[in-house]
Symmetry: C2
Subunit: 209 residues, 2 copies
């Protein structure tokens, strides 16, 4: 089966509360997404994302009964650390994690929508740049933006990337894209719900690194 | 006291065997060296170096009596994992860690020797580039080399960097440099000893990332 659909996200309940345990289980398979990108350059980004997940999990495990939804965690930290919140704890880790998740979402959506550079149809640069601009760029100072541009040269070819997402399978491009589309349904809903939660709790920050 | 001299390396014994416990204790203070560099850009490098240290420590703690020196660890892994060695375990972690240590050594030595760009005497670019070329460049493919060039823009000013190395103190430049020189004595001897051990055990690899 495909890397993506093996670890599909669950549909959200009507109130769009994200179940912490399910979220952590599913999301912890995503860093291997970066292995699909093929270059060791992405190993360090993977550690950053893994670090976010580890931090949220550590808070959750302190009191699973109390932290049933992600919002429970963010609200509890707002109470406990009023002065530094939201730049603290799992609230900060999830703030950054959601940006990485959004990056992946926009990249996959753009591929699924067939967006291509007509002159280089087998490159995914346009899709990666779009994802970067929508999810991360405004939180990066100019040095990190320059690092991103350099790292872009390590982006894999479209065909190899799609094959890697369906690892093992000898999948046709159309089948890969169908998998991507199916994966995106619950995934996008989950990421959107986390963004909405940050907006409604006024937990979003826009400092740059 | 200074960041460097608070955690000075011990002199080596005559046989130049590096004591594992002392090495790990001292070296675990070094990642804060990257905080002196001032930019969040270096946080990810710090995690890579910390990862190396954690890996070596985990092996050591499995049997401290057996792994008294770093060479004991490397030799034990050569026996235990003949097929994959040296690209495995603490042997691999120390292979990379020593390159980061060499980078720091060459950078500090170059500052201590007063090497400067006459047109930009308060920039440390020439020193950082020298350290990169001697310690890391040949192990980095062209994308990572490009990332290095981008990251170089985040290098701090010479005066700020020297002040950060003597954190807290209102130290004069000459005092800071004297501290650096004293730190380098045992530090350089330790790093050299690890390099010699890798050469004599034929444990060095030159693949690029
Ligand atoms: C020696 C030679 C080389 C020298 C130089 C090398 C320098 C390399 C540095 C590159 C940096 C770029 C990526 C990392 C950026 C990270 O700095 C940011 C902020 O990171 C957050 O920071 C917080 C504090 O402000 C907390 O510590 C968070 O941690 S906490 O859990 O403790 O709260 C942490 O995630 N994360 C980000 O920007 C997130 C990045 C997600 C990436 C998503 C996919 C991108 C794929 C790109 C494909 C083309
Ligand atoms: C989203 C936007 C941004 C997108 C893109 C961001 C991409 C960022 C990627 C930057 C990569 C550069 C630095 C990291 C390089 C690392 O890849 C290498 C090899 O790392 C080693 O790899 C081994 C396997 O081959 C093991 O996993 C080792 O791990 S193991 O412990 O498991 O065995 C591991 O250390 N370490 C290195 O090259 C070592 C680097 C030491 C640095 C020393 C100081 C440099 C200071 C520079 C000052 C100017």
């Amino acid at each position: 089966m495909t890397l993506l659909l093996d670890n599909e996200f669950q549909p959200l309940p009507p109130d769009k509360a994200v179940d912490t345990k399910l979220f952590l289980e599913t999301v912890s398979h995503l860093p291997s997404f970066f292995d699909c990108l093929g270059s060791s350059v992405f190993g360090l980004i993977k550690s950053d994302v893994n670090g976010n997940i580890t931090k949220i999990k550590a808070v959750y495990l302190k009191d699973p009964q109390r932290y049933v939804t992600l919002q429970d965690i963010v609200e509890a930290e707002r109470e406990a650390h009023a002065a530094q919140w939201p730049k603290i704890g799992a609230t900060l880790a999830l703030m950054w994690l959601k940006r990485g998740l959004r990056f992946i979402q926009v990249l996959l959506q753009s591929l699924a929508d067939g967006e291509k550079d007509p002159n280089n149809p087998n490159l995914i640069k346009v899709n990666v740049i779009k994802a970067y601009e929508e999810a991360l760029k405004k939180y990066h100072g100019w040095v990190v933006q320059k690092i991103f541009s350099a790292a872009l040269c390590a982006a894999p070819y479209r065909s190899n990337f799609l094959k890697a997402l369906s690892k093992g399978e000898e999948a046709k491009e159309e089948d890969c894209l169908a998998n991507v589309r199916q994966f995106l349904v619950n995934y996008t809903a989950t990421v959107d719900a986390i963004y909405e939660m940050y907006t409604s709790l006024n937990a979003e920050l826009d400092y740059t690194v």
